[in-house]
Point group: C2
Chain length 251, copies 2
Amino acid sequence: MMRGILYGVGLGPGAADLMTLRALDCLRKVDCIILPRKDEKSLSVSWHIARETVGPIPGQERLSLNFPMSRDPKVTSHAWNIAIKEIKDRIFAGKSVAFISLGDPFIYSSFIYLYEHAQKSWPEIEIKVIPGVSSITAAPIAAGIPIADGQERIAIIPAVYNKDDLRTIIRMFDTILLMKASSVMSEIIEILESEGLLDKSVYVASATMDKEQIVTDIRDIKGKRGMYFSMVVIAKKNHSGVLFGNGEKKE
Amino acid sequence: MMRGILYGVGLGPGAADLMTLRALDCLRKVDCIILPRKDEKSLSVSWHIARETVGPIPGQERLSLNFPMSRDPKVTSHAWNIAIKEIKDRIFAGKSVAFISLGDPFIYSSFIYLYEHAQKSWPEIEIKVIPGVSSITAAPIAAGIPIADGQERIAIIPAVYNKDDLRTIIRMFDTILLMKASSVMSEIIEILESEGLLDKSVYVASATMDKEQIVTDIRDIKGKRGMYFSMVVIAKKNHSGVLFGNGEKKE
C-alpha cells in the first residue's frame, strides 16, 4: 500500500505574513490540511491565520478535527482517537496530510503528540516538520525587548510552577518568559514585586495578531482573566553588550 | 529632513525557504540592505541565505559592513562606529534600510546593538523588527526532538557558564539548549555523563543548512573544533503528555 507523508507545519505567531515560504508551499501542495479546533462550536485559530494566504486549492481536503483543552484523559483520549484514525486513514491511503500549528510545531503544540504517536505506531511513514516563528521571539519583539545577547540566559516557563522554583529561576536567568501567565498573574506580580523586577516586566498577549495587547505595568492585569496566548517577559539586564566589548555575537 | 525606516529582518535558521513572507517582502522593497560579514575577506552568511530568493532589485543598494567577532572593545567599537555612520547617513537621507540577521533579530544577534543604539540616539526614526524562525526550534526539529510540551520548562544557555550553575539548571529544567557549545564540549560531556544524560543529548550544527550535522552520541564531538552555529539539545523527559491527560496545549 502506498503511504503518504505527515507534515507538521508551523504557521508563525499569528500574522499571516509571518508564515514561512516553506510552510505556504507545503500547504498549497498537500492533499489534506487538518484544521485543529477546540470543539465543534469553535473555528480553527490556526486555520484563520493561514486561510486567506493559502487560498482555494482545487481537490484539497480541509478537515476540521477537535482537540479539546482538557486535562481529563477521557475527554482528550476520545478526541485524539478520532483524530488519529482520520489522519491514519489518509496517510495509509497514500495522501499527504499537513497538521497546522500556531507558532512552531515542536513548542507547546498539539502536533508533538501526533508526532510521537506517528513515530511509535507508524514507523514506516515519513514525517516532516516545518519550523515556524514562535511567540518566544515574536512577543518580546512586539514589546520592543531584545530577548538575549552575548552571554545572557533565557528561561521559558509554563504558568504552573512552585514559587520557590520561580524565584530561583528569576535569579539565575537574564530573560524569563512566563507562558500562559494570565491565570497566575497575582502570584507573578507578588514575586516580581519582591524581587524588584516589576519595572522590567511586560505583559504581551496575542503578539502580531489584530488583538495584540502590550501592558507595560503588569499590575494592570491583576484579577483580569487574560487571553490564552499571553506571556510575561521579564528582561533583567540593561542591554549594552558588544559596543562595550563584553558580548559575543552571531553575524 | 525626511527620515527612513530601520528594519531588523530575521532570515530564519539557514534554509532560504524558511524566510517569512514578511521578510521577503521587506527585502524586496527597501532602499538598502546591510549585509553583515565578519571582515573584508568574508562573505555575508546571512546574505548567502537570502540572496537568491530576494533576487536582483533595480536601484537597491546592498552594502557590506564588517562586524568582527571579537571581544576587544577597540576592534568592535571601530567597526561599529563605521557601521552606525553608514546606516545613519542613509536613514537620515530618507532611505529605508534593512539589517539582516540569521535566525531572529532579537536573539543573540548583532541587530540588538544597532536597535539599542538607534532607540537611544535616533529617537525620531521608526524601527520595525521582523521576527524569524530561530535555531532554538529549528535545531531540535532537525534532531527530531520536540522541544517542550505541557508543563515543561526550557533553558537556553550560551556556552560560557560555571559548572555548578549548569548542573543546577539541568536539574531544574526539562529541555536545555546549550548554544555555541563546541568550544566547551569536554566540560559538557563530563557534566552530562555524571548526570546520566548522555543518552538524552544530541549535538546539532548548522540546522536546516546544507552542511547540517546531527550527532547523537555527543562524545564523538569531544576534542573536535566544532562549527559556530552549533547547539547541544538535552531533552530529559520521555514525552507522553496530553494523550494521557497530563498536558495542556495550544490549538
